[in-house]
Amino acid sequence: MMALLLDGLIVLALVSLAVQAISGRSLFRGIIHFVVFGLTMALAWARIGAPDLAMAEAAIGAGLTGALMMVAYRRLVAQGDNHSPRAPAQKSRLAIPIAVGSGLLVGVIGLGALLADNPPGEAGLIVLETLPEYGLGNAITGVLLLFRGLDTLLEIAVLLTALLAARALAGTGDSSATARTQHPETPLVGALLAVVIPLTILVAVHLLRAGTHETGGAFQAGAVLAAAGVLLVLSGRVSRTDTAGPLVRLGILAGLSAFILIGLMPLLYGEALLTLPGMWSIYLIETAMMVSIAAALILLFADAGGLKRDRRG
């Protein structure tokens, strides 16, 4: 009974937050509602029994998407966004029927799939069966790296592509709308950062290591690491540059290139493409991916081609 109540509350919160995000008066509050929606989604994933998704949604879906939206909002304001549509919504007589219809369709499909008497997924059973052979405890990491590595490799390529495409749009030489605060800094910030940054890195490394046997993995770790980077950008410890230095470039590319190079290696000794040659390669690829994910997300957040340490603080 308690469980049902909890689930009911989560669902109610999801729906009302979604409505608020879309139709609330101010866009800024819309972003807040969207972020809280993401956090509630994380709760929902935990309830559904998918802790990895809960963590990913909290870190990536809610946290970083929210941060990116905030930054975009600030830029719009800095560019003098007074052309924003006055009314949040345009009138459309068809909107409600179409929305209700597609919601119903999705509901019927979802229920149909839930109630259908399917056998358990064969692919999933194979995962659980073969996983112990590899010494991996986390089935999802196993799927992502061992069994369906190409998906993960291409997904890193998607992130890189988004970064490159966004960079091509950013243009050069406008640092007017920076994300970092220009206020004189209180001494507390420095002390706080000195604690928070190492702690965050520690959490990221733990998540990465944990990914092989329990909840966690490169994506969650990368998102946490990105959060540390975002803090450094915000506090002005790291400043934006238009072009990336070698270290930053290496960071962006590490995940994709390490995965490709290690993935091509088995061809040399006659094994299948993307066969990972051992636990060391899993750790290596995961670490490289974590670094790349963090680097890409920080650059997207800072809207910068590169980053450098700022010595003023």
């Binding site: 309830r47 559904i48 509901g107 229920l111 997924g121 997904e155 495409a165 993995g217």
Partner: protein, 106 residues
């Protein structure tokens, strides 16, 4: 584990809300909220559509959804950059007033 039927119900509602938002929202960022909300609805259905194994959800759809989440963030990040640039060039943050075939150079 939770009552999955309830979450399927939530997914249906969220999808409907997303579609509504996609149609009526003017501001591009709100359209992005809408698409992301629809995405979450579909992620829920992907997990609930597969039969659980030993009481826990099938790991394969979970891995697919994890990939889907990262792709959604990437696409959203690019869309936001595009929106900011569009605003810088045209002063607009919506697509309603458009004139695509005009213009001298393209």
């Amino acid at each position: 584990m939770a009552d999955l039927g309830l979450y399927v119900f939530a997914a249906a509602l969220l999808f409907g809300i997303g579609v509504y938002g996609l149609i009526v929202a003017r501001h591009l960022m709100r359209k992005l909220f809408a698409i992301n909300i629809m995405g979450n609805a579909i992620f829920i259905l992907m997990v609930t559509a597969a039969r659980p194994l030993d009481g826990a959800p099938d790991p394969v759809p979970q891995a697919l959804v994890l990939t889907g989440i990262v792709i959604a963030v990437s696409a959203t990040a690019f869309a936001l950059a595009l929106m900011v640039r569009l605003h810088r060039e045209t002063g607009q943050v919506s697509l309603s007033a458009d004139n695509e075939s005009g213009g001298d150079d393209g």
